[in-house]
């Protein structure tokens, strides 16, 4: 399971809308808990270096990854996953996504962006032990809503009820 704060979840989806019609990409920092849950504490936007085919390919420069890994280490966090968008394409991993996936145990989050608007977001956990037996598994996303947002939702619901 991938656990992520609502604000981070919305931020990665918004990133896909901002870069449309090109793919966005970024890194999920957090902690892996008992090998079953990747808990995201922070998302980091990254640049897509595939300017030759940015509408259907992405690549994060290794130099940028080194910096992000250093940032994670300084925060006491790990890289637990990555995200990218599929402009006008389903939120399913592609053969390219699979061929280029090497971070076993990490979550790969994909958001379909349809005509500029973020649609479905899915997560896939890369499992296996080597390049030969790796596989993507569908992974549930648990979105955590903090107290501030809970109160806002409750107030909005209360206001709406009062108007009825």
């Amino acid at each position: 399971m991938l656990t992520i704060q609502y604000a981070d979840y919305e931020a990665l989806r918004a990133h896909g809308e901002e870069t449309y019609p090109n793919e966005c990409c970024g890194v999920l920092l957090g902690k892996s808990e008992a090998g079953v849950t990747n808990r995201v504490h922070q998302i980091v936007r990254a640049g897509n270096t595939r300017t030759d085919s940015a509408h259907n390919r992405y690549n994060i420069a290794p130099q940028e990854l080194v910096k992000i890994q250093r940032q994670a280490r300084n925060l006491g966090l790990d890289i637990v996953g990555f995200y990218h968008s599929h402009p006008d394409h389903p939120a399913q991993w592609s053969p390219t996504d699979f061929a280029e996936a090497h971070w076993i145990g990490c979550s790969y989050v994909i958001t379909a962006v349809e005509k500029g608007k973020a649609a479905i977001t899915n997560s896939f956990l890369l499992l296996g032990t080597t390049e030969d037996d790796k596989k993507f598994h569908d992974e549930a996303i648990e979105i955590e809503i903090n107290k501030t947002i809970e109160v806002a939702i409750a107030e909005a619901a209360s206001t709406q009820k009062g108007q009825e």
Partner: protein, 97 residues
Amino acid sequence: MNIHIPTPLRAYTDGKETVAIPGATISAVFTLLTTTYPELRQHLFTPEGKLRSFVNVYLNDDDIRYLPAKEDSPVSDTDELTIIPSIAGGSAQARCC
């Protein structure tokens, strides 16, 4: 020198994010690293002993593939080596055939 291990490979370094390995060159450090943690070898190198294409190694802020002496570059105890697998993909079909 300190070597920073990416999340997926920590299963082969007893869960350690950073391991300290002495050596005079990158190659010597790699040899001792994979002797200390033998399961790392197949994840870093091909059966022919070449660094796998998707594995990037940085000496401080420099990609070792672009260093003049590459893996034979000298290192000191204060240098840092970072192993970082590549991240790429996209909705396009994989190039084939």
